[in-house]
């Protein structure tokens, strides 16, 4: 799951990046930018307005991602919404702010200036959030100001006079709840109205404070709030209560460990029935096709090559979705900020700061968005160090490999009855292994090539929020699509290519046994190099194909065993693996996958983020050396205990 954001995907929109598509009337559709501070509910609103008609894209030239989508309006107007990064001001200081600033001012080459702006602010913290209204209104674009979290404001006893604020700002203002879907009609009305008559929507100028002067802007916001009779709500009781547990010196870290264990145990136990069902489905559909098709080359390609290869990978979809669901809940609930705070002390010891922990945590899902998420780190050297260690976190692409090998070699016995099984512990150890390696590498990098002054750590602790089903659903939908897309492209191509290479060269018009095929020759060529790690030529073929993406090895082994006449599905794979791997070799294979950077997408995104080939080449080399060395050591040591 690595090409999560960087690769253009088949989208639901005609072409949501530049140039903006032309509507039937000949005019280009109206573009509306959504601006707001972090934690203002911007993404929830965007999801609410666009639903499935959205996709992630990158601004040309920079790596800050944005999302674009089509709003569902009651009349026929088409409005394109651009979700800009969360910013506190438009003062171009961080990369996020620069993008928002340039985009709103029409300074981003090739990107049309938006026709209107939706400014979304947290109504429960209006005093501070209204500061952003000054630079946004200064743009002179039609602006709709949304005061989000209306329900929260009411529950906590705050209030605001929307009409008075609207009069003061000379712009429409609406009190909404993006999470609950309250007040969405008002936004659609604004969008329809703006689309119908852009010129009429231009606001009259109002008096604004000096934009560069933060105290001045804050005073202006207070004055506005007073005129709109804003009463700030009482502090969030639930957030305080939850923090007294999650940030407790003893309970906090314990809760964190408990959460992690639950996640992994559930990935093994809850997803298992669904996975078994999918495995059976793939196997029976393969058999059915086998009966339907006449014998021949085409049948062999389809069943042994494609079905065994692709089928053995797609059965892991439930596990991966479950992992993304958990990470999504952690992110959307506001817990990640607490995790970063807990981790700051540890991170400072390795020369990094708590904010590095957020991308590292999301790297457990996928390194590609994690590498992009490092832009919240202000210090350039800290940022590169974080990028260098992010792929050591156990990403979801390793999950199929780990699951396959663990299920094949680790007996399913419970260490603590009903709670903790041996496969779960093995999996946890592998996750720990990646993390420890990351810590050590970061320490080395930060005390040598990436040495810098002690960094600062400033992080807002947002109130806890219940993740919305829609946002979680969209995440899973998106990830499911990426996974299946990859199974349908990379893994399919590798499976077909491998099948062809495994059946050539023909000798006397006969297909050769796989050892004598081109694929076999390649495997035999690398065999001497990987023999010390306990791998034979078949595993060697898998290691080579998995350079594209880690989970490809599962598909490759599926194809190889399919050709050899075995059962290509996952359960058959487990049995077949025993013939090619000793238990010590299995340990070595797990360790190899824990460390090696087998992912084209990660290499590409690191190249783009760091601006040169130097860092990705360094990263690939050090991780390969680490993987080889550690794998060899693991094979030798495990060989003493396992037979």
């Amino acid at each position: 799951m690595s090409n999560c954001h960087d690769t253009p995907r088949v989208g639901l929109l005609p072409n949501p990046t530049i140039p903006v598509p032309h509507s039937s009337s000949g005019d280009r559709p109206v573009i509306v930018a959504i601006v707001g501070p972090p934690n203002s509910g911007k993404s929830t609103l965007f999801n609410r307005l666009t639903g499935l008609r959205q996709k992630v894209a990158n601004f040309p030239g920079v790596t800050v991602e944005h999302r674009m989508g089509k709003a569902k309006l009651k009349d026929r107007h088409e409005v394109f919404l651009v979700d800009l990064p969360g910013v506190y001001s438009l003062h171009p200081q961080s990369e996020d702010e620069k993008v928002a600033h340039d985009m709103l001012k029409g300074l981003r080459p090739g990107f049309a200036r938006p026709d209107a702006v939706i400014l979304i602010l947290d109504a429960t913290n209006l005093g501070r959030h209204l500061v952003l209204a000054a630079p946004v209104l200064d743009l002179g674009l039609p602006t709709l100001i949304l005061l989000n979290m209306a329900d929260d404001l009411a529950v906590r006893g705050g209030e605001v006079d929307v009409a008075a604020l609207s009069k003061e700002l000379n712009s429409p203002v609406a009190l909404i709840s993006a999470a609950k879907g309250k007040g969405i009609e008002q936004i659609q009305q604004f969008l329809s109205g703006t689309a119908a008559n852009l010129a009429a929507a231009k606001p009259a100028r109002i008096e604004l404070p000096v934009l560069n002067d933060v105290p001045n802007c804050r005073q202006w916001a207070t004055k506005l709030g007073n005129r709109a009779s804003y009463r700030a709500p009482v502090p969030p009781v639930w957030t305080r209560r939850l923090d007294s547990v999650f940030l407790h010196p003893v309970w906090g870290p314990l809760v964190f460990v408990a959460v992690v264990i639950t996640v992994f145990q559930s990935i093994f136990s809850w997803a298992q029935p669904i996975m078994d069902g999918m495995t059976a489905l793939v196997a029976s559909s393969g058999q059915w096709m086998g009966h339907m098709l006449p014998d021949g080359v085409f049948k062999s390609l389809l069943i042994e090559g494609v079905w065994s290869g692709v089928g053995s990978v797609i059965v892991f979809l439930p596990q991966i979705l479950l992992l993304f669901l958990f990470i999504g809940v952690l992110e959307d609930s506001g817990y990640l900020a607490r995790a970063a705070l807990i981790a700051d002390r540890t991170m400072s010891k390795i020369g990094l700061q708590g904010k590095s922990f957020i991308p590292l945590l999301s790297a457990y899902a996928c390194a590609v968005p994690a590498v992009m998420a490092t832009r919240v780190i202000e210090n350039k050297r800290d940022r590169i160090a974080t990028i260098m260690i992010a792929p050591l976190m156990t990403c979801s692409a390793r999950l199929p490999v780990y699951t396959l090998v663990i299920a094949a070699f680790v007996p399913n016995i419970y260490l603590i009855r009903g709670v903790l099984s041996l496969p779960t512990v093995t999996m946890l150890l592998l996750y720990l292994l990646g993390f420890v390696a990351a810590v050590v590498v970061a320490r080395i990098l930060k005390s040598t090539v990436l040495k810098s002054k002690r960094s600062v750590f400033i992080l807002e602790m947002p109130p806890y929020r219940l993740p919305t089903m829609q946002s979680l659903g969209l995440r899973l939908y998106d990830r499911g699509k990426v996974f299946l897309h990859r199974a349908g492209t990379v893994i399919l191509l590798v499976a077909i290519g491998l099948w062809i290479l495994a059946h050539l060269p023909l000798s006397h018009g006969q297909m050769p046994p796989i050892e004598n095929s081109f694929a076999g020759m390649v495997g035999k060529t690398v065999e001497p190099v990987i023999k010390p790690l306990g791998f034979n030529w078949k595993i060697g073929i898998g290691l080579i194909t998995s350079l594209a993406a880690r989970e490809v090895i599962v598909g490759t082994l599926g194809t190889i065993y399919g050709i050899e006449g075995g059962d290509g599905n996952t359960q058959g794979l487990q049995a077949a693996l025993h013939a090619d791997l000793s238990p010590a070799g299995a340990v070595a294979l797990l360790v190899f996958f824990a460390f090696a950077l087998q992912c084209f997408s990660t290499i590409a995104v690191v190249r783009r983020e760091t601006g040169s080939w130097k860092w990705p080449i360094f990263q690939f080399s050090y991780m390969l050396a680490l993987a080889y060395g550690a794998s060899w050591a693991a094979y030798e040591i495990a060989g003493l205990f396992l037979h």
Partner: protein, 96 residues
């Protein structure tokens, strides 16, 4: 280590001099930020403005940082950063 330092400060001066000297729940009024411009600006955007009240709430479980209530939200800062945020002397200092 941070705790010891805070105690030492409060022993010498009766009023806390920096945000780092504040005890949990004790309010201080920010006077000035002694940090580079970009960091100071980020802090101001988060509510650390001269004249604003700052109240420390939780200590990070690992130590080394604290969460502060400021301008309607909660922001975590490391102790070496909060040591650079100077407080207004609430009690009239004795001057010659």
């Amino acid at each position: 280590m941070g705790v010891k330092k805070r105690k030492r400060h409060t022993a010498i001066t009766s009023t806390p001099a920096t945000v780092d000297d504040l005890r949990s729940g004790e309010e201080g009024i920010l006077d000035r930020i002694d940090l580079p411009e970009d960091i100071a600006r980020r802090l101001m955007e988060l509510g650390f403005l001269p004249g604003n009240a700052i109240v420390p709430s939780r200590v990070a479980p690992g130590g080394g940082a604290r969460v502060f209530q400021v301008d309607g939200s909660e922001v975590a800062l490391r102790n070496d950063t909060s040591r650079k945020l100077h407080l207004r002397r609430s009690r009239t200092p004795v001057l010659p």
